[in-house]
Symmetry: C2
Subunit: 202 residues, 2 copies
DNA sequence: ATTATCTATAGATCTATAGATAATGC
DNA sequence: ATTATCTATAGATCTATAGATAATGC
């Protein structure tokens, strides 16, 4: 890939994640990339096509991290999931808000993620195994009665909201980068405590 | 207030909450309000002023519902908080995403909420009482060791994320209004279970 | 020759205002 | 008289493309 092309991609990524689709112009992108505005269209034809490229790429980063370690027992498996999800988002802090924002604002983008999910058929299988594991733990009396969807939503809520609210948290309480990274570690441990104890694990 | 003026306000509210500031034009607002585009500026001068009016109004709705029932014991108090917060958001489903979205996208709006909070000095006091209650419960051994900020974030994450993700949930799983309202009730109960059990209450 | 880059511009917005006209209140 | 509403338009975008020029590869 030509340097200019990758510069444009990088600039677009930075701006779309920072300001969203609407507030980003191809003129802005060219300025950040250090090239002519016409070149943005030369390489990617339309703003929408350029956006979709970045959008699907970011979604796949998220999707790719949603894996289940089936060699572990349930507790280790859940623990590992929270660790890896937190870790991945720590290095991609803006992605959760970016994806949710664009999916809520523009309904026509929702088919993109449906397609990406069904393309990777393994995820349906992951969920089935996850569901089986949970039902198993309940029947063994290791955790309380809970629906798989509820446990999933509990974990996702606690993790994703942490990252969505992060810019507001760090701004409001005037935290620097070092404090933020301690905060994220701290929240991760608290999320584990709440979830483990909250379903009766331990 | 003149009918036209309130029509414009209503139209602006609908559009800003649905599509956000950037994607809403004063021409759109006029169209929905059924009046001339110039009238939007006649009554509110600028798009920004009109937006700020709605933004602060919506924020105050949220802030106003964050009250603490100090006559109750801790458990009843937390239970009551989750009930009222869920209830309020059920009738204002789009507000959480709207506020977070505009606060993240435009840093210059953050002072608006700082001002609104410090104007209502009572909220500092609420938090102090809340903090005292929690420390008290911990020292009595009624709940596990937890920082007030963590418990607050746990509860807010679980509730707010429910509403932020709601349009995606209902779209993805093709739920109708009736199912959605059952879902919200169901999530509320699950949030209570997780939080109560997760801090060792019961 | 082909590909990359630039200049220039068409055509479609969008915000905000000036100035004309209509409606309302005393 | 005052207030509300409309028409028209200035000036600032913004996307996308056409066509000229420069750089690169065989």
């Amino acid at each position: 890939m030509k340097k200019t092309e990758s510069d444009i991609l990088k600039a677009a990524e930075e701006l779309f994640l920072e300001k969203g689709y609407e507030a980003t112009s191809t003129t802005d992108i060219a300025k950040v990339a250090g090239c002519n505005q016409a070149l943005v269209h030369y390489y990617f034809r339309t703003k929408e096509k350029l956006f979709t490229k970045i959008f699907t790429e970011k979604f796949k980063i998220i999707l790719g991290s949603l894996k289940l370690e089936k060699d572990f027992d349930f507790r280790a498996s859940l623990n590992h999931f929270i660790d890896t999800y937190f870790e991945m988002l720590t290095h991609n802090r803006k992605i959760p808000f970016f994806l949710i924002n664009e999916l809520i604002m523009r309904e026509d983008r929702r088919p993109i993620i449906r397609a990406a999910i069904s393309q990777e058929m393994s995820y349906l299988q992951y969920y089935t195994e996850w569901d089986k594991m949970i039902k198993d733990e309940i029947s063994k009396g290791n955790i309380r009665q809970i629906e798989t969807m509820d446990l999933t939503l509990n974990v996702l809520s606690l993790i994703i909201f942490t990252f969505i609210s992060l810019p507001l948290y760090s701004d409001f309480f005037e935290k620097d980068e070092n404090e933020i990274s301690h905060y994220l570690q701290h929240r991760k441990e608290e999320v584990k405590k709440l979830v483990f104890q909250g379903i009766g694990l331990e």
